[in-house]
């Protein structure tokens, strides 16, 4: 081994150790746990079974929760994209002080802790909260709106907090598109919409891609927001998993659910990556 190679290995060591201790070990442990039998006196039993997986896969309830989580994450991602693109566009055109202010504004949802933020939503949207009071006072509504503990509020709150993860990479990608390309397209007869559709949108994909992946993964794994704002009536995969781990203390079942969620998420990410591989390859100038 040359000195350079040894040095490189040495430099990689901290990262490898970190990943091993905080990722490989826990996941291995979790996979192992998911195959254990349930225990009566302890959170898990002594022997092994594939029963938890077959139970999850054959029980319609779990499918329903998984589907709800997927649809919610998809919706959050899509809404985030729709909300973020114009913001990113605006931001990519800004310079100096205006740009700094925009960055600060965009990052603001991340500046409050997750609990504070969600309690904030709870207070604002409560039946007798300021939002309903204001709307009632203005005569816009006659009866207070039931917003808290609805799926809609969960989606809204998640979009709110994940917008920065979409805006920043798209802004970055938009900034990398030379203005001359848009001018070139307009000299060839493209109107603003056509220039956007044919040039800007495809070339901003290197920003859309990480944004979509980040927001999707973050929202499908979100726990606190659905738990606090979604109420007791509807479960999402993360709330279900936590309930099994901390409520009923059926660790093997909780682990199996977590593994299922992780695998499904991974499949989604892989599918999206494969479907857009060609576009990605082309748009990476």
């Amino acid at each position: 081994m040359t000195r350079g190679a040894r040095l490189r290995l040495l430099l990689a060591l901290p990262a490898v150790a970190l990943i091993f201790v905080f990722m490989v070990l826990p996941i291995t442990n979790m996979v192992e746990m998911s195959f254990r039998t349930l225990g009566t006196t302890a959170p898990f039993g002594d022997s092994y079974t594939t029963g938890h997986y077959s139970r999850i896969l054959s029980d319609g309830y779990y499918w329903q929760v998984l589907l709800r989580s997927l649809v919610t994450a998809l919706l959050v991602t899509l809404l985030c994209l729709l909300v973020s693109y114009p913001i990113a566009w605006h931001m990519s055109k800004a310079h100096g002080f205006k740009a700094v202010m925009l960055y600060a504004l965009i990052a603001s949802p991340l500046m409050t802790g997750v609990l504070v933020r969600n309690f904030g939503w709870m207070i604002v949207t409560a039946l007798n909260g300021p939002l309903n009071e204001t709307l009632l006072g203005l005569g816009i509504i006659e009866r207070p709106l039931r917003l808290l503990f609805t799926q809609g509020l969960v989606v809204l709150a998640l979009v709110h907090v994940f917008v920065p993860f979409m805006v920043l990479p798209i802004n970055n990608a938009l900034r990398n598109i030379p203005p001359a390309l848009v001018e070139a397209s307009s000299s060839m007869g493209a109107n603003r919409w056509q220039a956007f559709r044919d040039v800007i949108l495809p070339l901003s994909f290197p920003g859309i891609y990480p944004g979509v992946i980040l927001v999707f993964v973050l929202s499908i794994a979100a726990y606190v927001t659905p738990a606090l704002l979604g109420g007791q009536m509807v479960s999402y995969m993360p709330t279900l998993i936590v309930a099994e781990l901390n409520g009923t203390f059926r660790w093997p079942l909780g682990s199996a659910l977590a593994i299922v969620l992780a695998v499904v998420t991974l499949i989604c990410v892989a599918a999206f990556t494969l479907l857009t591989a060609k576009l990605m390859e082309k748009s990476r100038a």
Binding site: E183, S187, M188, P202, L203
Partner: protein, 352 residues
């Protein structure tokens, strides 16, 4: 086809006046070059023509009709950019065919016109490559084909050769000129390379700080510049201050560095004037009787086809001249300099 008239164009960026009354014309089929140093407003002028920029004042008309209200995508001009501005996510054929696709041309017509354009710029066989998979020279030719395939009324080129190496630059330069002349397209061409401007253009506009210093044929720009700035920018030049100037029919009688001469010059010079002597208007006299000036050879550089020589005059002025390659001169020699007064040109002297 298209005669263009630009009149008194003005453009301000904040408090900076980028264009301060630019006027130009181009007859149908002419190639007009905008020549000038960096920052003089060449691109700004071209971008106003293209419709990418709205001027603050002035007018641009084509065949008599004003186009300033027409957006860029309806002007029907072909534009070639310095950095090519090819769409990286489209193939060569996709880039060239993009405008045709927007016009919803039938498939067969599209294929035919793309093939024609590719043949014109000698790019056959590269249809399916992406811009990053072809060389700089090829990219520039794609950009040219892309601008030409729509049969534009006007072709606008902003330093199209700036990113190419010297040999490619020559090749693409002639390609542009050939194609432009064959198709009879009116063209505006931006460059800061004077030899490029001289070689290609029908008309040259030498620009200076947002104005046109002189608008004329390359020959006139070179031989009869209206001011020192133009002479300096269009080639190697010697300037000698005149001590006496008297207008006579068809020119001036002048006294310069102790010698008397009759030369042509810019009309209307009253008192202060300087004489422009291009290096090729000067030669070393075989015997001192024929010499107008006497001086000492100060610098000498062998260039292959000729020698570059600098002679210091007794009054402190210096003259640059080209000497035959095999002429025996050496640094420190006394030399008599002869001038070809047909190639001398008198200009008003501007005090710096």
């Amino acid at each position: 086809m298209a005669a263009v008239e630009v009149r008194d164009l003005r453009k301000r960026y904040g408090s900076f006046l980028a264009l301060d009354g630019v006027s130009l014309t181009a007859q149908t089929g002419q190639l007009v070059t905008l020549l000038g140093p960096s920052g003089c407003g060449k691109s700004t002028t071209l971008r106003c023509l293209a419709g990418f920029l709205d001027p603050d004042g002035g007018s641009i008309s084509i065949d008599g009709s004003d186009i300033l209200g027409v957006p860029a995508n309806r002007r029907g001009f072909g534009v070639v950019f310095q950095n090519y501005a090819l769409f990286p996510h489209m193939t060569v054929a996709g880039n060239i065919g993009y405008g045709l696709k927007l016009q919803k041309r039938p498939k067969t017509e599209m294929a035919e016109r793309i093939a024609d354009a590719m043949r014109l710029v000698r790019l056959q066989g590269l249809e399916d490559r992406y811009p990053r998979q072809i060389s700089g020279g090829q990219q520039q030719r794609v950009a040219l084909a892309r601008a030409l395939v729509l049969r534009p009324r006007l072709l606008l080129l902003d330093e199209p050769l700036a990113n190419l190496d010297a040999r490619l630059r020559d090749e693409v330069r002639w390609l542009i000129r050939d194609v432009q002349q064959e198709s009879g397209i009116t063209a505006f061409y931006v460059t800061h390379d004077q030899s490029e401007a001289m070689a290609m253009s029908d008309m040259v506009a030498v620009m200076k700080e947002g104005r046109v210093a002189q608008f004329a044929t390359p020959r006139e720009i070179y031989q009869k510049p209206v001011e020192r700035y133009v002479a300096d920018f269009t080639g190697e030049a010697n300037f000698l201050s005149c001590t006496r100037v008297a207008p006579v029919a068809g020119g001036y009688d002048i006294e310069v560095a102790g010698a008397h001469l009759r030369v042509a010059g810019v009309p209307g010079i009253r008192d202060r004037a300087e004489l422009l002597l291009r290096p090729e208007a000067l030669s070393i006299a075989p015997d001192t009787g024929q010499a107008l000036f006497q001086g000492r050879v100060e610098k000498l550089a062998f260039l292959g086809a000729s020698q570059h020589c600098e002679v210091r005059l007794p009054d402190g002025g210096a003259l640059k001249l080209a000497v035959q390659a095999n002429r025996p001169v050496g640094v420190g020699d006394q030399a008599g300099i002869r001038i070809d007064s047909e190639h001398a040109w008198l200009m008003p002297e501007v005090r710096q």
